[in-house]
Symmetry: C2
Subunit: 274 residues, 2 copies
């Protein structure tokens, strides 16, 4: 460890903490990054990025930046949480301009808080830079508003995934029971591979099988696909149509709004052309 | 009505719909807009913006753009929903590049879906451009992650405000009961002026008065202030400290994370300087 400086030892003033920017990359399209995120990427010397971050987003990084993939890819760990923290600590201590880049928003099921705590324990401060979260943007890019007056007064975001080795990390049964009864929109991230189990469970807990639901796959990207179906039928339909991941599950009456928009638009255009 | 063109009448092909971009302005700082939003603002000929949108964000608009305020300001209606729709329809029909700019994200309690439906009924299509929502970013900019492994497996977003004249538009009692029991983070938007009522209601419904809670005021702006206190004490503390609106209420154990980050960082820096 090369720190602290002699000055800080003599004055008993703790040295300034080294800093890492923990940045949200948004749902995929490069122009859905924030201006702040784009600036930080353009100035970075090291970018440690999750697998979900698209090539288009990585292209915003400085050509001189070292790009290091981290996280999981199809279940395989490219770099563990501990390895990522080691890398970030070493880079921050060396004074490199360092960006930790995560898909969506860093604190929406992105384990940003964990990295902030582990970096802090080693004397490295973390600045959180919000990103567009798929929890809101995936439905929105498919025309589905997560809230809508008189339809959905709020929204609930859960993950279908329990972190490996941690029984207490996922939503518990009580949370799914709440999701089954909530009058607003329910958004489930990382649920595409467990769709039948999730939709079945929500129905068993009281949510009607006729509740409108949708799966939004690759939101905002050229391959975006939206499958809308009643909750009871969604898993079978999704299986038949082979929707690629990542996909966001949306449950609630707001799912019907894009069809209503299309209907009104069609009627207005027909009326105008008669 | 000046449309449709003669060509579309003869061919029985409906004319292409006119288009308005419904754009999220994020929580306030100009560099928390997306690149897409900044580009659209820079190209716009008309920007109809909510009152919450900051001057710094409006400065991103083309100098040639006409800026029209809309929505409410301190309860007073500057332009009604109907007036806004009329304005947008007229601009779109005139072929003007038109941006409807809303604070945060346009579909998170921003009535974006309503405008999309009303525009569609008049033959104007709406393209939704996601923005950083304060529901996630306000806590995040204060260092509070809305999800955290083993602490908050998801989050619930509600508004404290019922739209005037609509009894069915706000969360109902059952939703607040869910909020009282949810194991994840509860975020309440537009709740600052009804804090005592909200915190009292959640406690009456079973949430412990010792639950960590925080009010984040003017998130991300130079005047940002964060007040953390147990749920039972928050309203009195907020009253005493005169936190300015807009403010976001966050309830759950994640509120304790920034203090833990600071503690670890302090310990690490002290250890390094010994």
């Amino acid at each position: 460890v090369s720190r602290p400086s002699a000055a800080s030892r003599h004055d008993a003033v703790p040295p300034l903490p080294r800093r890492v920017h923990l940045v949200g990359a948004g749902p995929g399209p490069a122009d859905l990054l924030t201006l702040r995120a784009a600036r930080l990427l353009g100035q970075a010397e090291l970018v440690v990025h999750d697998q979900l971050v698209t090539e288009d987003v990585l292209a915003l990084a400085s050509p001189r930046a070292e790009l290091v993939p981290a996280g999981r890819r199809q279940g395989r760990v490219v770099a563990s949480h501990e390895e990522v923290v080691d890398l970030l600590v070493a880079a921050a201590r060396a004074g490199r301009r360092t960006v930790r880049l995560k898909g969506g928003d860093p604190v929406v099921l992105g384990r940003g808080g964990e990295e902030a705590l582990d970096l802090a324990a080693r004397g490295v401060a973390c600045e959180l830079v919000p990103g567009i979260t798929s929890a809101v943007a995936a439905p929105e890019l498919a025309g589905i508003p997560v809230t809508h007056r008189g339809v959905a007064p709020g929204f609930l975001v859960l993950t279908a995934q329990r972190a490996p080795g941690s029984s207490a990390s996922g939503p518990d049964g009580a949370d799914w029971a709440l999701a089954a009864r909530f009058s607003g929109t329910v958004v489930v991230l990382m649920g595409a591979t467990r769709l039948a189990e999730l939709c079945g469970r929500l129905q068993a807990l009281g949510r009607s099988g006729t509740t409108p639901a949708a799966l939004v796959s690759q939101a905002g990207l050229p391959g975006q696909r939206v499958l809308a179906a009643p909750l009871a039928q969604l898993p079978e339909r999704a299986l038949a149509e082979h929707l690629p991941t990542p996909a966001v599950l949306v449950i609630g009456d707001v799912v019907g709004i894009p069809a209503e928009v299309e209907r009104r638009l069609g009627d207005a255009l027909v009326a105008a052309s008669v």
